[in-house]
Amino acid sequence: MTDLLTASSLDAFYGDFQALFGVNFRISEGESVALIGANGAGKSTFLKVLTGLLPVPGQSLTFDGTDLTQHPAHEIAKLGIAMSPEGRRLFPSLSVRENLLLGATVAREGPWNLQAVEDLFPILTEKANTPSTLLSGGQQQMVAIGRALMANPKILLLDEVSLGLAPVIIRDIYSALPRIRENGTSVILVEQDIGQAVAVSDRLYCLQEGRISLEGPSATLDRADISAAYFGRKKEHA
């Protein structure tokens, strides 16, 4: 399989603070890759780098033959990387449907449109004209994912989809993932819940203090190894 996106020994900084150290990452077309790690391990930072929200001049980051470091965030969105951001970040002045329509600003060709997204999450049809602030957390998450899908991305980034949601809602939202992937869309998901991450991904990266501490196929990785990589060596005896 050819790689759709690759990062080689990628460093990232917030001002003088280095958040990522030599990260090697790749994802191929149609693949689902999970990023796990403790709070502050650099997962969200890595997604910010991919979307251009955190510029990394001079680093090696290639998407579909394009050097991503040369493009600002709004151009990267047009190239085909869309994100459902941590905390959903819906636009409070806009209704549910307007939030979804805003996602289609990039005008990329593909299977996703208002109809398809509302078929995927039927509750959004009912709530179409509701201000996005009046939705439940789960419904807001559906809008955030739908808004990202409206861009018909080649890679969909899902940051902390399950944060603050009830388990039954999380199951509902993740049950949409196969239909998202059946069109060949690649998915990178950041997840605190290791079980969930293993269940829905082909491969998995574990980040620890800005470095990749473990990498491999989700199905065959040993849970003890994952725990060690997640928490660091000090807690291996636990």
């Binding site: 709004h74 969105a77 636009f91 806009l94 600003t105 808004r147």
Partner: protein, 288 residues
Amino acid sequence: MEWINAILQGILLGGLYALFAAGLSLMFGIMRFVNLAHGDFIIAAAFLTLVFVDLTGLSPLWAIVPIVPAMMVAGYIGQRVVLNRLSGKDLLPSILVTFGLSVILQNLMLETFSADSRRVSAGALDTAAIPLGGGLAVGVIPLLLFVSAIAVIALLNWIFAHTAVGRQLRATSDDPETVSLMGINKKHLFAIAMSLASGVVALAGVLLAVKTNFDPAAGPVRLLFAFEAVIIGGLGSLWGTLAGGVILGVAQGLGAKIDPGMQILAGHIVFLIILVLRPQGLFPKQRG
């Protein structure tokens, strides 16, 4: 009846203040950008109207045709070339730069047009009035100003509610970082917002030139009225801005009725009272 007349004229005057304020409200609402040169741009548009009338001999209202589009283009370019460099979380750079712009504009106008107070005549329209009976009458020009203000605010609200650009502008006002994830170029969108605001400024300038006297130093007072109308109305609602303009206009009208020297002071006093009693304004933006 004289009091009713004072209120009526105050309401119509409020239309002009609402036009002054709408541009300011747009810039702050979308870009969190305070333009201290706002009043001077209005006066500049008034002087352009004077030049237009001198050159063509046409009625000053025709000046809307070239000046509004010209200032919209200039607004777009100015935002892309200069003002986008200032946009950010900090208000101070925009205040400093537009304060400088204000000084430059005032002195340019002083050099070019002298310090004389000027007036543009619209011919017979200047004194035309519609009698309402009972000794009341409304001037055609004040009425035209008021109707223009309503039309501009209705048009802007329609753009915000029903067009893709309007949606993008509202979203940018909410969360300027996340809109870039939607493939929206913030710099282009800010320039569109500035262009819309500049169009309103141009219209306000042309109408000001027809309505009243102006001179190169008249800008800061217009800026003050605009700020007061925006704050009375509450940030984020253009209809609130119209209400703010009307309240300010009526307060000035009634003040002038009590004593001609009270006109401006009465407006400021009402503004201060509202600021104390309802600092968020009468119609603040609703957040869920």
